[in-house]
């Protein structure tokens, strides 16, 4: 590294502060971690499923790349796929980071840059990702700005590499996609610790409130404000203005998507209307008096849809401005008058002004508006025009048999439509295509369940007591390397499953079903964002959903809503903290050692079952770079690339940390870095399998194998046909399946294999990371 740059980095990270020695890769550039990323890509090779066979990005083209042909610039189809994937990751990273930039500007303005970062006394490692990636230990929210400036610079390089005539290798694009993911993790972490430190959001608190979730959770006899998106500042100001003016109980503030989750972290009386898929349906009911949009995952047609129902609209983000007039500098009275009397939709870029204007507008408008839902009894009449042309079926984003259900409704059978309402992802294309003008989405909404559920509000970061508890239960070494301390009996944890991402779900109940299955099996279940909402919307026979059924504890059978999209960083943060606390690995600028430890030792799996946005690609890539495998639902195929192992010999040598010997393993573990499955049932099995790691020892390997076998038998009706690959010694076979498994092993000519208790890749590929 050139000396000027090194000095600059040392200055930014306050290198002379001696909390830890500075590791080999503080503030890595886009190529600094390439060795690690290429090592991952050697075992987990890119698998491409092109969405488009063409490249349309420059004036040489369009170029046809069919069959991996090259385009006029020389790019082949694989490289084009990897470029598109990197562009997605950059979009996702930019979305979270830009969100963080605005939020931090707002918070610094409000609280000052010297405001201390405070995630409660129990949290010692306040910013595990920032410490690991940058080598910076932030103390004030002003310090966090350094992280965002760093991400901005890296994004500039990453986007630059996607320009025509730049990067020409698909593996290098994939490595850069991981770098984008690492930057995303940093941007998300900064965003969440800034808002937790300043806005009094819960932190490390098990007993967060159980809040209402459901599209009828708001009391529509009161003025209703609906906030859509992710950025909490406008909502915060609305809630503050209401409190300051004694209106707290007079107005309903509901939210859709992650703003809803963060609102409940501010106030337990905020309502969660639902995940992003409820957006259009809810707007079309017209029961919101005012919609306040902020940023990300908001429909592009909100102004048009709001206007149709006479709902007022305030846009609050420079990235979602809809061509509206910017009235930020006008007086509040004037803006209220524009919205209420002139029926104008406006853009206000000052959250404080939004707080006042939104509250006053909702109060004035509500008495003037008539609000009612379409009643079920009217559905049949509205469906009568259906001619069974099937136009709706062809455009359904979730491939649902819409036409059949509408036709049945016309014939007085609402059950098919009711079933549809569970799986509908709310895109509204059915109604757009209907040549008879049937408002199909409204009909679906009219028969949808009106139940309100309880969801636990997001808890934010994990504290060190949590980490010690789960590290022990995971059977991870305590103290010096290699000494294993196994959690006792009931305290054993087979794995940590994080259900993350959006609500583009094949079936509405999938996440609730999967979360229940794994919580009952004593896995730790973490949830964020729209996945956390989806999990709330199903009750068992006792009338309880998973948040009511299981404790929000870091430990076996814990079910914890971590928070919004940006809280995903805490999930990776948990893994980083385990590495620090149990293996005594220094974090500071020591990315490769930490990621290698997580990959080989920590049985954590991310499940993005309903992923829909580009942000999901950057989050997943960040998790992957940190050594955490991810499983996508079937729609994830549209992201066009996965990272799969093929079990080829020679691609999985590991070094045993203790003996320093390099051993060829029978893995790899995890067996894929990012894969997808078609059905929930298969996902159950794949999740359990992805929890196997090379260092599983003592009672934990049999425990993890038990769940893999047991789930396979339950959902696939048979023993796994690769069980001989995963059993390394007879003592690892779960007792209850011993006879059956032994029969298979004998047939397969199985022989015991060596285990490596302290596996690592450090030392098996070119790297500056420390071997000790």
């Amino acid at each position: 590294m050139n000396k000027t740059k090194q000095k600059r980095i040392e200055k930014i990270i306050n290198a002379s502060d001696e909390w830890e020695p500075v590791g080999p890769t503080p503030m890595p550039d886009i190529s600094t971690l390439r060795g690690w990323q290429m090592r991952l890509l050697k075992t987990y090779k890119p698998f491409y499923a092109p969405s488009c066979d063409l490249c349309c990005r420059c004036t040489f083209g369009k170029c046809d790349l069919t069959g991996n042909k090259k385009g006029a610039c020389g790019i082949d189809l694989s490289t084009q796929q990897s470029r598109e994937f990197l562009i997605s990751c950059c979009q996702g990273t930019a979305a979270h980071t830009a969100h963080a930039i605005h939020l931090l500007d707002y918070l610094i303005d409000k609280y000052g840059e010297d405001h201390k970062i405070d995630l409660s006394k129990e949290v010692e490692i306040e910013a595990p990702i920032m410490r690991t990636v940058m080598g910076l230990k932030p103390e004030t929210i002003g310090d966090l700005r350094k992280g965002l400036t760093y991400v901005e610079g890296q994004l500039c390089h990453l986007v630059s590499s996607t320009h025509t005539g730049q990067e020409g290798g698909n593996l290098d694009y994939e490595a850069k996609a991981m770098h984008a993911g690492i930057m995303d993790m940093l941007g998300m972490e900064i965003c969440d610790i800034a808002q937790i430190s300043t806005l009094n959001m819960p932190t490390s608190n098990e007993d967060t409130a159980l809040v209402d979730i459901g599209w009828r959770s708001a009391d529509i006899t009161k003025p209703v404000i609906i906030c859509i998106g992710h950025a909490v500042a406008p909502s915060k100001e609305i809630l503050d203005y209401m409190t300051a003016n004694g209106l707290y109980d007079d107005i309903e503030v509901g939210g859709i998507c992650c703003t809803a989750i963060d609102n409940t972290r501010l106030s337990d009386s905020a309502r969660v209307i639902g995940p992003l898929s409820k957006q259009l349906s809810y707007i079309r009911t017209g029961v919101a008096d005012l919609i306040v949009t902020d940023e990300q995952c908001i429909r592009c047609d909100v102004p048009e849809e709001a206007e149709k129902t006479g709902t007022a609209l305030i846009a609050t983000s420079d990235k979602v401005s809809y061509g509206l007039e910017d009235v930020t500098d006008r007086g509040s009275d004037e803006i209220v008058d524009m919205i209420v009397n002139e029926k104008r939709q406006v853009l206000i870029l000052d959250p404080v002004k939004v707080g006042e204007v939104a509250t006053r507008v909702a109060q004035k408008l509500a008495p003037m508006r008539k609000k009612e839902f379409i009643e079920e009894c009217n559905v049949q009449g509205m469906a009568k025009a259906c001619k069974r042309c099937g136009s709706c079926d062809k455009v359904c984003a979730n491939l649902l048999p819409v036409g059949e259900a509408v036709y049945a409704a016309a014939n007085d059978n609402l059950e098919l439509l009711r079933g549809l309402s569970r799986a509908c992802v709310g895109c509204g294309k059915c109604a757009q295509e209907c040549p008879e003008g049937i408002p199909v989405l409204n009909l679906i909404q009219a028969v949808a369940s009106t139940e309100t559920f309880k969801m636990r509000s997001g808890r934010g970061a994990a504290h060190e007591i949590d980490i010690r508890r789960i590290g022990k239960a995971l059977g991870i070494g305590s103290g010096s390397e290699g000494r294993l301390e196994i959690g006792s009996g009931a305290g054993r944890l087979p794995g940590v499953i994080a259900f993350v991402g959006c609500s583009n779900l094949p079936e509405a109940d999938d996440i609730a079903d999967m979360a229940l299955e794994f919580a009952e099996r004593k896995f730790l279940v973490l949830l964020t964002g729209c996945a956390a909402m989806g999990a709330a919307m199903k009750r068992d026979a006792d009338g309880k959903n998973i948040y009511e059924k299981f404790p929000a504890e870091f430990g076996p059978s814990g079910v914890i809503n971590i928070g919004s999209c940006v809280s995903n960083s805490h999930i990776v943060g948990v893994a980083v903290k385990v590495a620090q606390l149990f293996a005594k690995k220094p974090l500071r600028g020591n990315f490769e050692v930490i990621a290698d430890y997580i990959l080989h030792r920590i049985p954590a799996v991310g499940v993005a079952w309903g992923a829909y946005s580009q942000k999901a690609t950057s989050i997943a890539s960040g998790a992957n770079a940190f050594g955490i495998p991810v499983i996508l639902g079937p729609q994830g195929a549209k992201y066009r690339r996965l990272l799969l192992s093929d079990g080829e010999e020679g691609d999985y040598p590991v070094r045993d940390f203790r003996s320093d010997k390099v051993v060829e393993m029978g893995g790899p573990y995890p067996d894929h870095l990012i894969t997808l499955v078609e059905t929930k049932e298969r996902a159950m099995v794949t999740i359990a399998k992805q929890c196997l790691r090379n260092n599983d020892t003592g009672p934990l390997r049999p425990l993890r194998l038990f769940h893999y076998i047991d789930l396979h038998k339950k959902y696939m009706g048979s023993l796994p046909d690769d069980i001989h690959v995963h059993v390394r010694s007879v003592s690892e076979i779960p007792l209850v399946y011993k006879r059956e498994v032994m029969e298979v092993l004998e047939k397969k000519g199985w022989k015991p294999r060596e285990t490596v208790p302290t596996p690592t890749w450090i030392g098996t590929y070119p790297s500056k990371a420390s071997l000790s």
């Binding site: 069919t66 799969l644 078609e678």
Partner: protein, 185 residues
């Protein structure tokens, strides 16, 4: 006939699309001529509606007629076992594709990679992506989709037979033709 996808999410964005096949004998001939055909089935074989018997039973009958291995992806193995059939492979959908695209892979039967791969009962947007992988990266094999929605990225695809009757007739006829032809051979 132009291979136009049923679900617009599967619309072809490219220059190479497959052939629509609706002639039972032509389809049977393709399967019979293949040296190492493979039948890949997905989660929908268990709950496909509109047929006179479960799609999984058609899969078994077809595999039985020409001694063709089945790769049961998703959780389809459960249904096959209940129908009394043990599939040769339970690799998942993207895993089998990942192997099929390597020309030197030894195949499900360890005798060499497959030269014809038939798909049934897979969610249409997922199958469409998977067939794209094989179209671009597996010139060494041909693909047939026996799903009832056109798959433009397959080499051969059935028409959009969403009503079930024609699809049902085709599958029944195909099994008959495979049995006949196998008998003649």
């Amino acid at each position: 006939m132009k291979a136009q996808a049923f679900h617009t999410v599967n619309i072809l964005t490219g220059t190479k699309s497959g052939t629509i096949i609706k002639d039972v004998d032509q389809c049977a001939e393709l399967i019979k001529k293949a040296k190492r055909p493979l039948l890949v089935i997905g989660g929908k074989v268990l709950d496909e509606k509109g047929l006179t018997k479960p799609l999984g039973e058609y899969a078994i009958d077809m595999a039985d007629a020409v001694d063709m291995p089945i790769c049961a992806t998703a959780h389809s193995i459960k249904g096959l076992i209940e129908m009394g059939w043990m599939p040769e492979s339970t690799l998942d959908f993207v895993e089998i594709l990942n192997f099929l695209k390597k020309s030197d892979w030894m195949g499900v039967g360890k005798e060499g990679n497959h030269d014809l791969v038939i798909f049934m009962g897979i969610r249409s947007d997922l199958l469409e992506r998977g067939l794209s992988t094989l179209k671009h990266y597996a010139p060494h094999l041909k693909t047939i989709s026996l799903c009832n929605e056109v798959m433009p990225n397959a080499d051969y695809s059935l028409p959009n037979w969403t009503k079930g009757k024609k699809w049902n007739g085709f599958l029944g006829g195909l099994i008959e033709a495979l049995n006949d032809q196998t008998g003649q051979a």
